[in-house]
Symmetry: D2
Subunit: 132 residues, 4 copies
Amino acid sequence: MSIKEMIREHPQVGADFNEQLAEAVKHAMYCAAICNSCADACSAEEMDMRRCIRLCSDCSDICTATYRVATRRTSGDVKVIEAMLRTCITACEACADECGKHDNDHCRRCAKMCRECADDCRKALESMLEHA
Amino acid sequence: MSIKEMIREHPQVGADFNEQLAEAVKHAMYCAAICNSCADACSAEEMDMRRCIRLCSDCSDICTATYRVATRRTSGDVKVIEAMLRTCITACEACADECGKHDNDHCRRCAKMCRECADDCRKALESMLEHA
Amino acid sequence: MSIKEMIREHPQVGADFNEQLAEAVKHAMYCAAICNSCADACSAEEMDMRRCIRLCSDCSDICTATYRVATRRTSGDVKVIEAMLRTCITACEACADECGKHDNDHCRRCAKMCRECADDCRKALESMLEHA
Amino acid sequence: MSIKEMIREHPQVGADFNEQLAEAVKHAMYCAAICNSCADACSAEEMDMRRCIRLCSDCSDICTATYRVATRRTSGDVKVIEAMLRTCITACEACADECGKHDNDHCRRCAKMCRECADDCRKALESMLEHA
């Protein structure tokens, strides 16, 4: 049940395995799930959470695209992955800022997840620029 | 980074937490990611893997919808979750059967993941029917 | 910009083109987009729309999986498409029932779209069972 | 069945309707569907289409995220939409360049669709920067 091991088993990967990028894939996968759950939990709260629903929904969609694209290893598509990682950082930071304002467990967990995901995308981006 | 804990923090869950359904969510999330990776890895193999690409792509899309829908806890939507779990079992079994025919690490891992996901969806479905 | 013509151009389709299934693909694609928009518009309304947000979000995810899976024509995957069409009918009917209760333009449009999508999925299912 | 009319019916839109952004939403929705179909059709071709499968799959995932995020109008999220539009242009151009190399109807249609989608995202981006 390890997406990182799965990527390593791709026929074109082998020694070329990028640990930072695989870590970003794993966390973007989790962040997509956590943000989807937070959007739903926010809509069940009593206070006005509409901005939080919006940013969690956007972040979930963007993390889903990010982890799916960054997982693929057939015939390198570096420029697209880099662009997607940059957008993912923007979406995760916006979502973390908003969730960070709310005093409930699901928003606290979501804000933490988004910050970790943004950090991992940044490290993945740096490792890709170094290898270019 | 736990999607199961996240679901427990939903304002309408609390004592109503369904462990089997949360386990199905977690594994469908992983299965979506593993199948997406397997479709890509299959397309890079030398032999004819087109049927495997097809079934992995379908299973990834269906697991994504399953985990997203089954995560939500606002104003119960039991009939839709049950229908989605049934379709997920069908897709996972079809994908596991096909991946099970191929002698490479990514297909073996994917087949195993799909079987686990189908099992968890079956258990979640049983637990929901018991509670109905 | 026609998804139906696109499916007809698949190398394994030709004379086998299923008009009803292609129509279901087209409408599920639209329904995914309309429901995604309705969930967002509902979250901006003043009254309590949480059940509508939930059902629109679920229906959007399920229509997305449905149209993506039902589009594919490589190495037939009839059982999975049939299961997905059935689940799509369930999700569209649940969403249409809920949106039908609300007096605003986006919910009216969404309810109409969901009913059309459910009808098309039913016709596609019948045409597949006839050809089996 | 018009996603553009749907966006206009959002309670926070009204006079603020951005025609260029709505056009980008519509074409990204179509491009997501066309690229998903092209990836499948490519996998059924006899020649080596693996790079095309890869780029179509990436472009489909990115267009899906783009149209879903750019559809939403609750509590403005301009920076995230702009970042997503930029990534969508990159993905569509990469996919159009690759599909443009192949002599078959589905790749020709997909290349045309991707170029139109990139153009619309560029115009949407310009209109957003003008309004900022």
